[in-house]
Amino acid sequence: MFLKIMFILAATMTLGGAFLTAYTKNLMHACVYLLVSLFGVAGLYATLGADFLAATQLVVYAGGVVILMLFAIMLTGGIQNFVNKFGLDKVPSMGNGKTYTIAGLSMIITAFIIMKVLAPIFKTNVQGELPAFASTVEEIGVLLVTDHVLAFEISSILLLGALVGAAVISRPRRGK
């Protein structure tokens, strides 16, 4: 019962946030709706018994990625020219009716393909008793340094590379 209410709440947040992210014309609002959607995803993780992942989702997205996005919007907003270098009218940056039509059509095709793939799963959806929720922190910790230790190390190198790369790229160039 409680789980169901939680699930419906989280699903509504996720899908509503995602829909509004796609719908709104204001980039700042889109970012806030994305935050709502990501919180909903954290709620879905919680209903799936993935407590550590839910907290990680909150820490990384709410604390890091969304604020970073907001910062980037603030640093790049302002100048808007509506013609490109050939003097032709550009598509507005948040899309217009034409782009949405194209996106909608291609999404219908994609949806049919994915549904074709998912259909056998929907048909054979038998499940027994689900295990009770347990703490996953210790098990994830053990898995990270035993089974997945190579991926763990590679991801740490990736993060270091991203850190250095982001600093180097966004640094203003000398003599310019």
């Binding site: 806030v32 604390g63 929720f133």
Partner: protein, 400 residues
């Protein structure tokens, strides 16, 4: 199943009776209903008490600042002016709720609420006592870091939405400061998590003792430094002086909440004061023994043994009240230090703020983390007092 305030209260003899009576009354198993009822009641109490503490925080701030500057401070409303915050609240409610014409309406409305939600959601895991923890999550520390980062988003959006230059600068400063200082804060919290091997606040608190030499702050030299790193970082994360750049009165009129008036401004102020309380509570729980009372008076076993006449549950309740007092005492002592620092130190510049974070605190916190790991490996997690005591005994034995 995590330990919650309900599972603590369910040990009381009245609980089973209540469930039984209600089940008879409603005709279905009322266990879930009673759980919900207790949670709702305790949440209501905690939120209201915290709001009162946040309000009293403004009073304490004014009174202590007056004391430090040899003034009287508020003294008209109630005895010693203690009802000043209620008067302020009524004044705030009566003010007009101004929405600037150029403002981004939607963001302007939700920004103060985001701050409030972030702070009050983090109250769910603050360990007030071993019984009165709303829920003892096994990822409590992590959850708190995640939820309280909503405050940064709220401040940033508040600064953006008002569409004024002061607000914009304040919001930008606030967000950059909060995400920068999250790094040393998290690293120094990780040092304690490393020592304990758990992310749950209650487990961390239970690993410490009631007396100062059993606290984690005096466990080894690295945790001693980590405490100060965490405290400085917490000051910066809650935008308190000397790091109150987002609301620097002398440069940006009042920073990100320049354009807010009435209850919206009050939400920001309340969120800030409650967040200071939460942060002080977290520092107390992680480093100063939290709710631990000396000589294990807190778990009620000693009381039950000394006075066999009273019910063991009553002894437990007395122990819990003692624990609550210990926690509040430690937290308020830190709260006093925060206010004291605010009225003593001048404000930093923006660049020196970032230099302090990235060039000093973060390397120190990293060094501490490695140091704690080495200490754990080398001395098997013994505290330095235990080792001094042991070597002292060995030296005394050697003289014979």
């Amino acid at each position: 199943m995590n330990e919650t305030v309900v599972s603590y209260l369910s040990q009381a003899p009245g609980y089973a009776l209540l469930v039984e009576k209600l089940s008879e009354f409603f005709g279905f198993d009322a266990e879930g209903f009673v759980t919900f009822l207790i949670f709702a009641l305790v949440c209501f109490v905690v939120v209201n008490v915290m709001s009162a503490i946040g309000g009293l925080g403004t009073y304490a701030e004014r009174k202590i600042s007056a004391d430090l500057q040899m003034r009287q401070g508020p003294n008209r409303v109630g005895p010693f002016g203690i009802l000043q915050f209620l008067a302020d609240g009524v004044k705030m409610l009566g003010k007009e709720d101004i929405l600037p014409a150029q403002a981004d309406r939607f963001l302007f409305l939700i920004a103060p609420l985001m701050c409030m939600v972030g702070v009050f959601a983090s109250l769910a895991v603050v360990p007030f006592s071993s019984g009165l923890t709303l829920t003892n999550l096994n990822i409590g520390v992590f959850y708190l870091i995640g939820v309280s980062s909503l405050v940064g988003v709220g401040i940033f959006l508040g600064g953006y939405a008002a569409n004024s230059k002061w607000s914009m600068l304040g919001g930008m400063r606030g967000a950059s400061q909060i995400i920068s200082y999250e790094v040393p804060v998290t690293l120094s919290i990780l040092a304690i998590v490393l020592m304990t091997g758990s992310l749950s606040f209650n487990v961390i608190t239970d690993a410490q003792g009631g007396l100062p030499h059993q606290w984690y702050i005096f466990h080894n030299p690295f945790t001693f430094i980590a405490f100060f790193v965490l405290f400085i970082g917490a000051l910066a994360e809650t935008n308190r002086a000397p790091f109150d750049l987002p609301e620097a009165e002398s440069e940006l009129v009042s920073g990100y909440h320049t354009e807010f008036s009435g209850m919206r401004f009050a939400f920001f102020a309340l969120a800030e004061y409650v967040e200071v309380f939460v942060v002080c509570g977290v520092v107390a729980a992680l480093f100063l023994g939290g709710y631990k009372v000396p000589f294990d008076l807190g778990n009620g076993e000693l009381i039950a043994k000394t006075f066999p006449a009273i019910h063991p549950m009553l002894a437990k309740q007395i122990g819990n009240v003692l624990q609550l007092k210990a926690f509040i005492l430690k937290t308020l002592a830190l709260y006093y230090v925060v206010i004291w620092i605010r009225w003593t130190l001048p404000r930093l510049r923006v660049d020196s703020l970032m230099v302090l974070c990235w060039k000093y605190l973060t390397p120190i916190a990293l060094f501490n983390l490695v140091g704690c790991a080495v200490w754990l490996w080398a001395f098997e997690g013994k505290s330095m007092w235990a080792m001094i005591f042991k070597s002292g005994v060995a030296a005394a034995g050697g003289h014979h």
